[in-house]
């Protein structure tokens, strides 16, 4: 039996039980930084348009394979999650009373990300998939 009050905790990381809400925060931070890192690369990639079609098409071409596409799916997931969780944080920020529902809201954000990512991933991976 899970002890009383422990249900909301996932794993014991470095000796402290990580709650879903703490995980949600960590995910927000990681996804934000990840997207920022991608943005850096994306700017370099896009700036090659200034060098004409050959250079640009070659640059974009580097990312037209399965591993890169998988990376884009992860990027999409990160952004979707970051956005949904950002909305959750903002909702609580502007209506502090909502903090009382932080657990259901957190579960909602995580669940919604998963649900949204299923069709998105299927579409994005279509060119590389047997059904595509």
């Amino acid at each position: 039996m899970v002890p009383r009050g422990e249900r909301h905790h996932l794993i014991n990381l470095f000796g402290y039980r990580v709650s879903w809400a703490q995980l949600a925060w960590f995910g927000h931070r990681a996804s934000g930084l990840g997207v920022l890192f991608y943005l850096f690369m994306h700017i370099v990639e896009t700036s090659t348009v200034l060098f004409g079609p050959e250079v640009y098409n070659a640059a974009v071409g580097i990312f037209k394979n399965l591993p890169a596409r998988l990376g884009e799916v992860v990027l999409m997931a990160a952004l979707v999650y970051h956005a949904l969780n950002g909305l959750r944080v903002m909702a609580m920020d502007f209506w502090p009373r909502l903090t009382e529902y932080y657990r259901p809201l957190t579960y909602g954000v995580i669940g919604a990300t998963v649900v949204a990512m299923v069709p998105l991933a299927l579409i994005m991976l279509r060119p590389f998939a047997p059904w595509g």
């Binding site: 931070r29 934000g32 930084l33 997207v35 920022l36 943005l39 850096f40 700017i43 370099v44 896009t46 700036s47 348009v49 200034l50 060098f51 004409g52 079609p53 640009y56 098409n57 974009v60 884009e72 990027l75 999409m76 952004l79 979707v80 956005a83 950002g86 909305l87 903002m90 920020d93 502007f94 998105l120 579409i123 994005m124 279509r126 060119p127």
Partner: protein, 149 residues
């Protein structure tokens, strides 16, 4: 034999007057707090919209991202402004986020200031680069133009 290290314990006298640093530049963090939220709200449409178009719609319509695609897209001012806004907001939002993260984990003042300074410089250069691309890209001239030619 172990020796005793004595660390004098603070006795707090005159606490209401002593050791109370004047709060510094309080408006600054307030600005960034609100900025993060408002830019976040805008980014829901801008960033998710961008991703949706580039990775989902293009896929669904069987299109391809290449030079011609960019050419046609940045041919309209609407998309230029859209992408410009996205770029600036996402960059400032993200860079400030990174600043916050550094602030959380780097307690040492010097190291923190150095890292945040570097972040500022690097992001500045990148942001200018990005803005330049959007502003100077000329869909009608195929050969290299602009500041890098």
């Amino acid at each position: 034999m172990t020796t005793t290290t004595r660390r004098p314990r603070t006795i707090y006298t005159n606490p209401s007057r002593a050791a109370r640093p004047k709060p510094e530049a309080s408006g600054r963090e307030r600005f960034w707090w609100y900025f993060m939220r408002l830019s976040g709200l805008a980014l829901v449409f801008l960033a998710l919209g961008h991703m949706f178009i580039m990775h989902v719609l293009v896929e669904l319509t069987g299109g391809e991202i290449d030079f011609a695609f960019v050419q046609s897209r940045w041919g309209t001012p609407f998309w230029r402004i859209y992408d410009f806004l996205l770029l600036v907001l996402a960059f400032v939002h993200g860079a400030n986020g990174a600043r916050i993260v550094i602030g959380d984990y780097v307690a040492n003042r010097t190291a923190r200031n150095f890292l945040i300074g570097s972040l500022l410089v690097v992001s500045g250069i990148w942001l200018i680069l990005g803005m330049a691309v959007i502003v100077f890209f000329d869909p009608n001239t195929a050969p290299p133009v602009g500041p890098f030619s």
